[in-house]
């Protein structure tokens, strides 16, 4: 029995502890005062800021209980990223029509954030699974939170059914792995696997473990929940699913495949396919890019379009993992981070438009440029960044991702995947331009303009959106700020 030093544990887990405490405080405020939306949001935001400070105070390198709690530059960086994304999500809730239980909603966001931090800060399969479930359960409730909207309930149920099935697969995969190696620590698994060849049981274990994560990052063919969740969930929930949940899942997926399954990488090169996780991820990536982009072409609802484009973006990001190098990992993390920032911004705009016009179809966006130039300009930044147009962050992300993928194999073995990714982003440009066409070119129909409830655009919302747009532009112009940090943190 290891002698536990509780004080040290508390010190190292202080960010998580701060967030949990905040969640409890917010919950009790919500219980005591019925309409304390602002107070709840303020406390939640404050708690997240405190947690960021706590992360900054953590030591550089520390590992507890065989990887259950790992403190490293990488985990600290992404804990901060997740906390910041949660902070922006909390800002988004400020603009929503007063939810019936603001305290509970915000507490759920905070609990989901704890899940994110556990996922990011662990290199042990059981702990990862706990984080996954904590995150998942909070998100299911957050998705179904709008009781007045039947779509929200439908989305929540779909998300829950798919999610629990995927979790079951992952748990089964983990148990197989444990059976084969006798351990759940990622580093220990790697050393055991190094001595064994790829046998059918290992292949099954790897594929099953990956299913749960493919579900979380909405990679095809495990993406079926995404369109409904993105469209039906309350806007902040959808933003959180698209940003924080994705970032953390990519971080942990990267750790699992690159640390835990390192000996079973295989190869995804066109002429040199070899069994392992790399061809599995390559297949997921290719499928996601094709399906996501093609189906997105046919959408007329902005949120659904964002959902299918999210599938495609998951595909691009996976290319970085398929490369299997340190640079590939950091490129994927860079890409998913800027993607998350972009999507929170895009959802913030969707939220405002939804409140002002009562919907989020293309027609609701028409004429946004004349109603609110700041929102329209920001949305242009987000959409063009997603499409990978320089000088925005998305372009640098794609360049970084694709160049590391080409560098990985000998003789540009991954060129086929890169070419697919480029074709995909060419296709994506069309539907992103359709959104921008609605905003900048189309004239709103008269009836639409009349029925528009002129809710005054919330200053806080506009400021949030503008800040996010500025971040996307800045990360495109000076990507080094983030890229070098991530590259330095990746082991």
């Amino acid at each position: 029995m290891i002698h536990m030093r509780y004080l040290q544990l508390l010190k190292l887990a202080s960010p998580e502890a701060v967030v949990v405490l905040t969640a409890l405080v917010v919950l009790s405020i919500g219980l005591l005062a019925k309409r304390a939306t602002f107070a709840c949001a303020f406390v939640a935001g404050l708690g997240l800021v405190c947690a960021i400070v706590a992360v900054l105070l953590l030591p550089d390198d520390e590992t507890l209980f065989g990887g259950m709690l790992v403190i490293s530059p990488l985990t600290s960086l992404f804990k901060i990223t997740c906390l910041a994304l949660a902070f922006f999500t909390v800002l988004l809730t400020g603009g929503e029509k007063v939810p019936r239980h603001p305290g509970e909603y915000l507490a759920l966001i905070l609990l989901a954030t704890v899940g994110l931090m556990l996922l990011v800060g662990s290199e042990e399969l059981l702990m990862i699974f706990i984080g996954l479930e904590l995150l998942g359960l909070s998100l299911y409730v957050m998705t179904a939170f709008d009781k007045t909207d039947v779509r929200s309930a439908e989305a929540g149920l779909k998300y829950f059914l798919f999610g629990s099935t995927a979790s079951a697969f992952t748990l089964f995969g983990i148990s197989l792995l444990y059976g084969m190696t006798g351990t759940t620590g990622l580093a220990a698994i790697a050393t055991r696997l190094a001595t064994t060849s790829i046998q059918p049981l290992l292949a099954v274990a790897i594929v099953m473990t990956l299913v749960g994560f493919a579900f979380k990052i909405a990679a095809a063919p495990f993406h079926l929940w995404a369109p409904d969740a993105y469209q039906g969930a309350p806007v902040p929930s959808a933003a959180f699913i698209a940003s924080g949940s994705k970032v953390a899942s990519f971080v942990v997926l990267g750790k699992i495949v690159l640390i835990g399954f390192a000996p079973a990488q295989g190869s995804a090169g066109w002429h040199s396919m070899a069994a392992g996780w790399s061809p599995v991820l390559a297949a997921l990536a290719a499928l996601s890019i094709v399906i996501g982009n093609l189906v997105a072409l046919a959408q007329s609802n902005v949120r659904r379009l964002l959902a299918y484009s999210a599938v495609a973006h998951a595909g691009y990001t996976l290319i970085g993992f398929v490369a299997g190098t340190r640079e590939g990992f950091s490129a994927a993390l860079f890409y998913t981070t800027i993607y998350a920032v972009t999507l929170i911004g895009a959802f913030a705009v969707v939220g405002v438009v939804r409140r002002e016009t009562g919907g989020d179809d293309f027609s609701n966006f028409s004429g946004l440029a004349s109603r609110s130039p700041a929102l329209a300009g920001s949305m242009a930044v987000f959409m063009l960044s997603l499409a990978g147009i320089p000088p925005l962050a998305g372009f640098f992300g794609k360049f970084y991702l694709f160049s590391t993928a080409l560098q990985a194999g000998t003789n540009q073995a991954l060129l086929w995947l890169v070419a697919l990714g480029l074709v995909g982003s060419f296709v994506s440009l069309y539907y992103y331009l359709l959104v921008l066409k609605a905003i900048f070119v189309d004239v709103p129909s008269l009836s639409g303009a009349e029925s528009m409830r002129h809710a005054p655009s919330d200053f806080l919302q506009c400021a949030t959106v503008t800040v996010l747009a500025a971040v996307v532009v800045l990360l495109g112009v000076i990507p080094n700020v983030l890229a070098s940090r991530i590259l330095g943190a990746v082991p």
Binding site: P390, S403, L415, L433, L436, K437, V441, N480
Partner: protein, 493 residues
């Protein structure tokens, strides 16, 4: 002074940002002052930079950008880029002058316009592959908005077609750049042009990269975006598109594709020549049958860009220098033609149909417009004394050395160019006076309502006409700067 040329980019971008924050009453003045300042900087650099230093691609600015990936913010200048920057400066000023009448969403209009100009300056000055691509793609999205918001005739279709074609090319360019970067291990154009890529790689990377760029230069059969896009665009849009943006493709093809993959270029040059010649003749023949004045000019642009590509494909100093001269010449002439067709004539007659125009007898109604059109047409046909002649003759001399047959065929093209230009000229401004009894009331009213040609239009037109005449009479002014720079490029050594 040479180093100051980098400020063309910053000033133009700064002007664009100013447009976002200042009220609309300042918009056109900001745009005008910004472009004039840019043009002033370019002229100063043109005059003060010693010709000897233009032979090599000399660094102006070099700042580490993303050290981990070897990206630098790296600008450089040689004779070729100086000429391209010069034509950008000229076109930019005249474009703003010809957009003086834009009333609707002024700030937005000039914002997009300045972004295009800044991107063009950037491409011509970039010495880093990544930076070049950033500026290259930066140009495309503003074009979409310029056309889709401010255009005419079928604008949304034209804008989307143009944008998708451009990005289709951009996709190939992206692949080419990635491959060059990954195998060459650098993004610095000067370093990469020293690197020996394997012939096997060059044989496929060159066509991918070159064709990607050539889409923007309107290479046959990927040219169809150009006429629709030009016709749909607002006057300023067509002037910039035909004047500068199409040159981005040919310039980058020369600077990047040909310079990086010389062996690949040798393998494919005759196929490029074939495509170029088809483009010259085909586009000219199509232009002969157009009824819309802007479509005529749109196809003429494709035909003229065919000469640029032919010049590049000759792979000798004379031909390539001629191609660069033709890029300058066509930049000025196309801007002039579109200014006449889109602003001077269409704004007043509200039609671009040649049949309708031929009944208006515009040479009497708008003598200045008619005069400008005659000068532009003469320059476009390659009449000696205008820049078009100097450029095309240089290209043909270069081509004669290696593709004598091509010269004969493009001779047919030149005849066709003359034919459609004269036809358009005759129908649009020298239409026969309709018999007195057939003069409908409508046309008479129209003619009297034509507002006189405004001062900004006159200044803009004079600027462009002066440039084409000056270069036509004394091409040495530009060729002295172009030839050494071209001769120092790798595929000639």
């Amino acid at each position: 002074m040479t180093a100051m040329i980098a400020w063309t980019i910053y000033l133009t971008l700064g002007g664009a940002v100013l447009l976002l924050v200042l009220p609309r009453s300042f918009a056109r003045w900001i745009a005008l002052l910004t472009t004039i300042a840019g043009f002033g900087l370019v002229t100063a650099a043109f005059v003060t930079t010693p010709i000897a230093s233009l032979a090599r691609f000399t660094t102006i600015v070099r700042v580490p950008w993303v050290p981990a990936l070897g990206m630098n913010y790296h600008l450089a200048l040689d004779g070729v880029s100086l000429i391209m920057v010069l034509v950008t400066g000229i076109s930019a000023v005249s474009t703003v002058l010809f957009s003086w009448d834009v009333e609707d969403r002024q700030n937005e209009f000039f914002f997009w316009l300045l972004l295009v100009v800044a991107g063009c300056y950037g491409v011509f000055l970039s010495a880093d592959l990544f930076l070049l691509f950033v500026f290259y793609e930066l140009v495309i999205v503003p074009k979409y908005f310029l056309i889709a918001i401010f255009g005419s005739t079928n604008k949304e279709y034209g804008a989307m077609k143009l944008t998708l074609y451009s990005f289709f090319g951009g996709m190939f360019v992206f692949v080419g750049i990635l491959v060059a970067y990954v195998s060459g291990g650098s993004l610095d154009l000067n370093q990469l042009s020293q690197f020996e890529f394997s012939p096997q790689l060059q044989s496929w990377a060159f066509p991918v990269l070159f064709l990607g760029f050539a889409v923007l230069a309107g290479i046959w059969p990927l040219h169809t975006w150009a006429p629709t896009g030009h016709a749909a665009a607002p006057t300023a849009g067509s002037m910039l598109l035909a004047g500068i943006v199409m040159k981005l493709g040919s310039y980058a093809g020369l600077r990047v594709a040909m310079n990086l993959f010389p062996q690949g270029f040798q393998m494919w040059s005759k196929w490029i020549a074939v495509l170029a010649i088809i483009g010259i003749v085909y586009a000219a023949a199509v232009a002969l049958r157009q009824r819309d004045l802007k479509f005529v000019i749109g196809y003429s642009s494709v035909s003229h860009m065919g000469f640029v590509l032919l010049g590049l494909a000759t792979a000798n100093a004379v031909g390539v220098s001629g191609a660069v001269l033709q890029m300058f010449s066509h930049g000025v002439i196309a801007a002039l033609l579109f200014a006449v067709a889109g602003r001077m004539i269409y704004r007043r007659t509200h039609t671009r149909q040649l049949d309708a125009l031929s009944r208006m007898n515009l040479s009497h109604a708008m003598p200045f417009a008619a005069f400008t059109f005659v000068v532009a047409a003469a320059a476009s046909m390659g009449i000696p004394g205008f820049s078009g002649f100097a450029a095309e003759i240089t290209i043909l001399i270069g081509a004669w050395k290696i593709y004598p047959l091509a010269v004969w065929i493009s001779g047919v093209g030149i005849v066709l160019v003359a034919a459609f230009t004269l036809r358009a000229l005759k129908l649009s401004v020298f239409g026969e006076q309709a018999p007195r009894d057939e003069v409908t009331k409508e046309t008479v009213v129209n003619r009297e309502e034509f507002t006189p040609i405004t001062i900004p239009e006159k200044i803009g037109a004079c600027m462009l006409m002066l440039s084409t005449v000056a270069v036509g009479i004394y091409p040495k002014l530009l060729l002295d700067r172009i030839i050494p720079a071209v001769e120092s490029m790798r595929f000639l050594r």
